[in-house]
Symmetry: C2
Subunit: 209 residues, 2 copies
Amino acid sequence: MTKKDKSEKSERILDVAEELFALHGFDGVTIRQISNRAKVDVALANYHFGKKLDLFHAVFDRRAELLSSSRRELLQASSGKKQTLEQIIEAFLLPLKMAQQTGDPGWKNYLALLANVMISPLWSKAMMGKVYDIRVEEFITALKGAFPKAKEEDIHWCYHYVSGALALTLAQTGRIDKLSGGKCLSSDFDAAYERMIPFIAAGFREVCG
Amino acid sequence: MTKKDKSEKSERILDVAEELFALHGFDGVTIRQISNRAKVDVALANYHFGKKLDLFHAVFDRRAELLSSSRRELLQASSGKKQTLEQIIEAFLLPLKMAQQTGDPGWKNYLALLANVMISPLWSKAMMGKVYDIRVEEFITALKGAFPKAKEEDIHWCYHYVSGALALTLAQTGRIDKLSGGKCLSSDFDAAYERMIPFIAAGFREVCG
DNA sequence: CACTATATTCAACAAGTGTTGAATATGCAA
DNA sequence: TTGCATATTCAACACTTGTTGAATATAGTG
């Protein structure tokens, strides 16, 4: 707004790259596929974003800060008195549900990309540290407050399970659709989150309580 | 043994391909990288396994049947009388823990590859249906037996969370190592499974009980 | 208008891609 | 040994990859 209005084409590149990276991963997508679908010359991606890897980072970072700060606000909002376990979990999950509920397909793609990064050893090390790890540390600190007597390892492992369940949800593989014979839908984030919170809460209380 | 002894080199190709596919995914690996590390000519992979995609299938299928049948046996072993929830969950998880505990790095790589496939919409659809889905259906049937009054959707969503937690564990991203400051290790499957069973069981009882 | 910085396209490069057919090596039966 | 099937290598193909430098268009400013 004030400084620079990103050109229309450069944002189209980001959108298309987001979608294709989410679906096929970094190596499964060529710059020509991106520029073709964005109706743009091959060289333009390079002009705006540099190397292919830089473009990937640009895509990943674009929405990372929004998600991360939304998590921080929710976590701090309830941090006055002692937080309930459910409040803590919701602060972690709700921003993702809200992002999904915007209906913006860009968010859907980004969340799938995030899931992809989370589960890859290489990409996880390269990308998650920048913005997301700080939030996770706050999240874990809050959990320690809710379970003062729990062992740290127990809390970390439980968070690990949460992270996995979340990743598979964000990935929207469509597998649950098939396995349930259509009774459940990958795209139904409401259904996924509704049950995830009590599921996780009970697990935490069992292992850490 | 009886029919054909696969050549030493062809198995080396499979081993190397398994490792590289697990780490970088299908598109992140070239046949030349595989053949170089296997100290074999580029054309040999094609001679033994056909196209690159066929090689990927060969890698994925090689250990799939073992894992799947191991699950079936464990699930049937306890199916005489009414199975406890913990028994059902263990039948699903134990084969993976045992595979990991062989110490064979090939198994470690395969499980990471499996995690990768599980979380990718495209690969999941293409690969999981062949061997794994049948086992999941039996698993869910057993769960229905343990929770006769539960709604089907609840059971499917809870299984979905299990599947996600499992996938992230198999992936061994090393993220928990970093976040816990070394208190937890991705490679420590014992620690992961030990807590996973009570965590999951409590979640199921809360949502489906 | 002219000037300038930014945006976009064009054309091409060197390197790498999967795949293939012919040539050679290897092991095994008669 | 001779044959023969399998295994492996060699050399090359047509094509795609990311990236770049020069050329051209576009928009904003004086």
